[in-house]
Symmetry: C2
Amino acid sequence: MAIITITGAGMMGSALCWPLADNGHTVRLVGTPLDGEIIAALRRDGRHPKLQRALPEGVAFYDHTQLAEALEGAEMVASGVSSFGVEWFASAAGPHLPSGAPVIAVTKGLEDLPDGTLLTLPEATARRLGAPVSLNAIGGPCIAHELAARRQTSVVFTGADPAVLERLRAAFATPYYHIWTSTDVTGVEVCAALKNAYALGVGLAVGMMERAGPDGLANMYNPQAALFAQSCYEMRCLLEITGGGAENAAWLPGPGDLYVTVFGGRTVRLGRLLGQGRSFAEARRILAGETLESVEIATRVARALPKLAARGLARLEDFPLLLHIDRIINHAAEVKIPWEQFFARHR
Amino acid sequence: MAIITITGAGMMGSALCWPLADNGHTVRLVGTPLDGEIIAALRRDGRHPKLQRALPEGVAFYDHTQLAEALEGAEMVASGVSSFGVEWFASAAGPHLPSGAPVIAVTKGLEDLPDGTLLTLPEATARRLGAPVSLNAIGGPCIAHELAARRQTSVVFTGADPAVLERLRAAFATPYYHIWTSTDVTGVEVCAALKNAYALGVGLAVGMMERAGPDGLANMYNPQAALFAQSCYEMRCLLEITGGGAENAAWLPGPGDLYVTVFGGRTVRLGRLLGQGRSFAEARRILAGETLESVEIATRVARALPKLAARGLARLEDFPLLLHIDRIINHAAEVKIPWEQFFARHR
């Protein structure tokens, strides 16, 4: 059994307490500067205010001022911050990471460099940390509420070193938390990041359905399915550009993660509002306070693509859905799905 | 404008009347011997009893005794029969197919030969017909009710001859019925057939959720997503065995068609009943009268796989979900998802 520290007490970071506590580890949960209320609530009665359930017995709670203490002697570190907390993780936690302790992050995202190059978060975090740390990540379909309820969950741990991945797998795996490992960090992480943007895309059709209303026995799954398929297609194309394995568009990281995000994620709500005909500004007001990683990832990839195309590394016609999402959220365009531009390589 | 005859007046065959009529074709809809009541109802008031809406103006209705007349002079033929009607199509319609008229079928299915070889329906139908007929098929996500309501729909027409496919596309495509073409008949048809079996698989988790009930804010999308991902994975593996293109597991035919079938299809109801803990015999009684293509396709592929494995063409460990479905429906096994056996190549 090991000492394992989780930085970030949001829903996903906190949900990792269940498999770790069930495996008998010493679990320390540290809040970020934004998690003050969560840690206070946990100290009061052990109940997580967002997950709305009591954390497993024995988990110790730390606020962000106690970060150094919480990391001392940790044998593994899980990072549960959102993509907006990566900066904080690197600067605040970085200096206190115990030597040799691997980090595994639930954070999803990509960062774009000025020349359009897309970096996965483990790569971006490594650049920020400077010091050599084993950075790994979790991809695949996992809604925090369900992991906290010990529902059957299947994910992918990805990182450069198979031995480290195996050590992490052994620490986290339980009869309900099933873990596959992959050294294709780019492949897994590109899908993990993109699924947020594409769940917004599928959500557009859900909103369009809500606006149009039923017509006899007809619902609106045909449009959703085409958007889901185009999402898998565009993931495939971005995997090719970034050097990730194409097979990731056809298992847990691609369609698996997109499926769960369409049904259980927060991102889809933004897509629904836009599909109903609301402007992005209006939708943003309605969702005030929500972390909208979908907006960030769509914006970044849409910013990178023309640069990659100019360098001969991407074809813009492969990404009509992502570019349409970008026009809606960043250029006040109306929702008008470019169906005929889909699946360019299959024309 | 052309004369186009649709054989089979079930939901999917009849739904094709909308794009064809909207394009100004002369449309003839012929019932099979099982469609007597549908044709009678259509003659009475033009309303399709299963689609529960009036067919477009101008469609002419024929019963099965008028098949020869309905096919006379047809420039294209659409086959709307289920996989159980293929035999009828070949023997009854075959002799009357006008020379040079291409056939395009909505039927999904695979047939297994004694040595385990799997044939797509166009291949199996060609063997039955004997005479040279251009046999094409429609894959991809399309619920008949939605096409009949002119909802945005995206599908794939597949066949051996690109020129024929282009002719068919031009005849069927409308601003709401988007068509891509593919000469990879095996790739498209393997996915089209398998999605019925795998929608049953994903349905198992839906039923398990209904049985378990909610737990706090936790629903049960993590298990569904893992089953969805494993379905895409097994499709990939079967594409490899049959020689279909792997990319079909990541666009309209694979995840797109599976998505629509999970939400709008009839197959998922059987999976739900089994997931709730009912025996197959019981579920079958509840669904009496329903066409259960999922059972047929799962049974056939599960029967073929050990033979293919013995010939060194398949690895049984790639198909734990399909083989579990087969055990449930054909060997009275209880539902016990083999999570740890999933994604064998990613272990």
